[in-house]
Point group: C2
Chain length 351, copies 2
Amino acid sequence: MDGLTKKRVTVVDVAHAAGVSKSTVSLVLQGSPVIPPDTQAKVKDAIRELGYVYNRGAASLRQASSSIIGIVVNDLTNSFFAELAVGVDMIVQSAGYVQFLAHSSEDVDRQNQVIASMREHGISGLIICPARGTEPADLKHLVDSGLPVVVAVRNVPGAKLSSLLSDNYAGAKAAVRHLIDLGHRRIAFLGGFSDIEVFRERTQGYLDGLSEAGISADETLVIHSSPSRAGGVDAIRQLLALRGAPATACLSFNDAVAFGVCDGLRSQRLEPGVDFSVVGFDDVIEARTAVPALTTVSVNPQRMGQQVAQLLFKQINSGRAEAEAIRTSVRLVVRQSTGRPLATQEAEIAS
Amino acid sequence: MDGLTKKRVTVVDVAHAAGVSKSTVSLVLQGSPVIPPDTQAKVKDAIRELGYVYNRGAASLRQASSSIIGIVVNDLTNSFFAELAVGVDMIVQSAGYVQFLAHSSEDVDRQNQVIASMREHGISGLIICPARGTEPADLKHLVDSGLPVVVAVRNVPGAKLSSLLSDNYAGAKAAVRHLIDLGHRRIAFLGGFSDIEVFRERTQGYLDGLSEAGISADETLVIHSSPSRAGGVDAIRQLLALRGAPATACLSFNDAVAFGVCDGLRSQRLEPGVDFSVVGFDDVIEARTAVPALTTVSVNPQRMGQQVAQLLFKQINSGRAEAEAIRTSVRLVVRQSTGRPLATQEAEIAS
DNA sequence: CTGTTAGCGCTTTCAT
DNA sequence: ATGAAAGCGCTAACAG
């Protein structure tokens, strides 16, 4: 009870208190069936009484395996990735693991640092949403260390790693077709930076969607910006300032951009969904109430997080699986703002 | 180079390759100044060549101290807490620590589980944004384990723990005064649940603000709801449906609620900031562009995260500090929607 | 300045 | 069914 002499209580102490030996305690801790119930009870009482806390570090040292999953995210500030991390955490926790989470702030150096740090802590698997500009070379060490790794959301084309990505191409194409069916001909693509694969996939779907409908693309209608709400405001402002035939609809890089586009429209006294059609990619839960008329190509981030975690565990448990590339399907969710509750119409999109 | 025989490379291997001893390697690893540069170089080369990765688990076992900070958040889905975690991470990383992040989904049992798990992993400090309904008893074990802990954002009144909270009372009062100065007399308080301390503090500020201006409070104008965007929509709908003298302004529990209130207003063809004044608490970065006219009582979550991490490190480094309760100041940010760029006016609020 | 030695708390044969 | 002993990879004394 002396505040200073408080030494860490170990299995030995527990064993002593319970009148058994070290290894018996260890076996109880692991729920081994070879220990008789009464002995188990004695040990458990001693544990409670002494306030013993299991030292997982020592255990992993001995067992050469930890129960830690690392996850490094490019930007936690983006709700999509925060939701994804939540989805991952659900699976990780239910598997009895804990989650190391770090975010790289879109900085490749930082990303390498945190990965190194995680490896030093002996993670038994890693999920990574790569920072912009991540090269296969950056992940070289990682992949040939044999650590189970899966890449989520953004691909790193050259790296031989498992990945779970959304079907960006098919989603963008479906969105464009939807807008064309609504009668639009001048359709813009707003937001995002061209140095990530996701952007390229989405713009490709956009371009192919247009050309399949016999509409020739106008490259001035593709406007880059930060993939954030503020970026969306910028992009729509630039679009509205263009001379020439005005666009009447846009596909936004993600939902943050789409929200920004709506903000920008409103500040010009235009009503999203009425004066100008907006389709957003990704689907943060808030989107449902935020802009009733906002159509989205939706990727459920929590579900995606769960899937990616499952893929990782599959890889961990199967020893050494081949790299596996999965595309999660997306849905086109059309919302109408006529009255309440909202009429929504969803369609699963196959590639 | 054989994929199966790949054994973990240890300090011994490195020592062998570099032609020195175990402890020399260890000293190099710790950047000790007693090792001559050329020996250091040899060792570092060997490390690179063998692909050695430091085993921090073994080190912590020996040193009885890890470099892990735990942070458990009630809801990562709420951008405010995601931003807070980012702020924490900045400090944690720059101190050479890594961050264990888990979220409790507002579930006290889950919260206890993850805390236990973190302790088993030997965290050297813990930051906690308590789940709703957390009792001092839930944290009893924790506090008398002597682990440095700081509570953030939400207080747990009975527990003897350091805390970093925003000045909710003063903020709410200032917001109400602002609305009164604008000429409002029927002011509502929307959103949030009354079982958390933050809610009580904010409503108290609201009530005192009213009564100091000689306005008697009308309890039908305090409407509870989930502290989310959807909750805000609900709350404003309920408010507008009330019979009797209509409210002309509201203070929202947080910014998510405020956004929802704006959504709800718009769906009734009312313009926030024109037909009805809205003040939101908390300040997610997006708020700036989202609703230009939205006045906020602003708490910068990233800054708060940094502060809380600093407080924790202070406690870790000073051995055993007394529990310390800090209130971060808040700012009243008034935004006007007249033209662009926005005219904003800020005022720091003292308690 | 560098090598030797003895554990940190746990798991795991191998005896009893 | 339980105990004894060895060792995971590292650091910290202490010798040399």
